[in-house]
Amino acid sequence: MKFRKDKDILQFMGVGIGMILAGLATFKYLHPAGMGLAISGAVLTLIGLLFATKPKEILLQDERSKRINEKAGYYGFWAILAIITVMNYLNITKLWIPTFFDTYSIIIFTGIYCWIILRWHFNKKGDTE
């Protein structure tokens, strides 16, 4: 099996290995949550190894899927800003006082799911060039 050793793969693997080291150091000296970082670093390294065996052309996106990603990210960004604005208004009027973790989880899950659903929608809609 032949592995690619170009700059992209080395950068990707470097980030993965760096995350493993940072996660293990955090786990040993700071907090048990560092194990999550180490596990995600290990997953990244494995993905890097998997893609190192494939040719570079397999990872290149065509213009249409690039455009769909950008458009979905743009609308996801505005959806997150709208949610933050609504939460701010609820917080100011004292109708609902969110904690940090309420905000954190609502924004992250809404942002990620909004992006995924919008990508699916723009892909199905089909007028994105």
Partner: protein, 134 residues
């Protein structure tokens, strides 16, 4: 359409003046000013959109195109980068909060992230526009 936008502009100025007066009156009387502040925000939004519409219609009547395909593409691309930055900064702040026990509050983080992501959207859009490869 230009005439309608001018009427919108006049109405939004009137709404803004009325809502500002209401806010000042409530502050003076020691009442809550959060409800009228919503009308101030609404008036500001209407004012800005009416002003932008007037500029757009005037430019279009002179034969200039403002939002062509390239500028739309720049906005979308910078929106994607700002979205990823926003999610990344939220994830880092959440992780730092749980690992280092910072006891972050809602207001101390979300306002900073909101302002940072809006400015990063504007700055990245300007950079991509200047770079010229979009």
């Amino acid at each position: 359409m230009l005439f309608m936008s001018k009427i919108n502009l006049a109405l939004s100025v009137f709404l803004l003046a009325f809502a500002s007066f209401w806010v000042v009156q409530n502050i003076y009387e020691g009442k809550s000013y959060h409800e009228p502040s919503l009308f101030v925000l609404l008036g500001l939004t209407l004012l800005i959109s009416a002003y932008m519409n007037i500029k757009r219609f005037k430019a279009e009547s002179e034969g200039k195109a403002i939002a062509d395909e390239r500028s739309r593409r720049v906005g979308e691309k910078s929106g994607l980068f700002a979205y990823l930055l926003l999610l990344g900064s939220l994830m880092v702040s959440g992780l730092a909060n749980s690992i280092l026990n910072l006891r972050l509050e809602y207001t101390s983080t979300v306002y900073v992230i909101l302002v940072a992501s809006l400015f990063s959207w504007i700055i990245i859009g300007h950079y991509l526009d200047k770079k010229g490869e979009v």
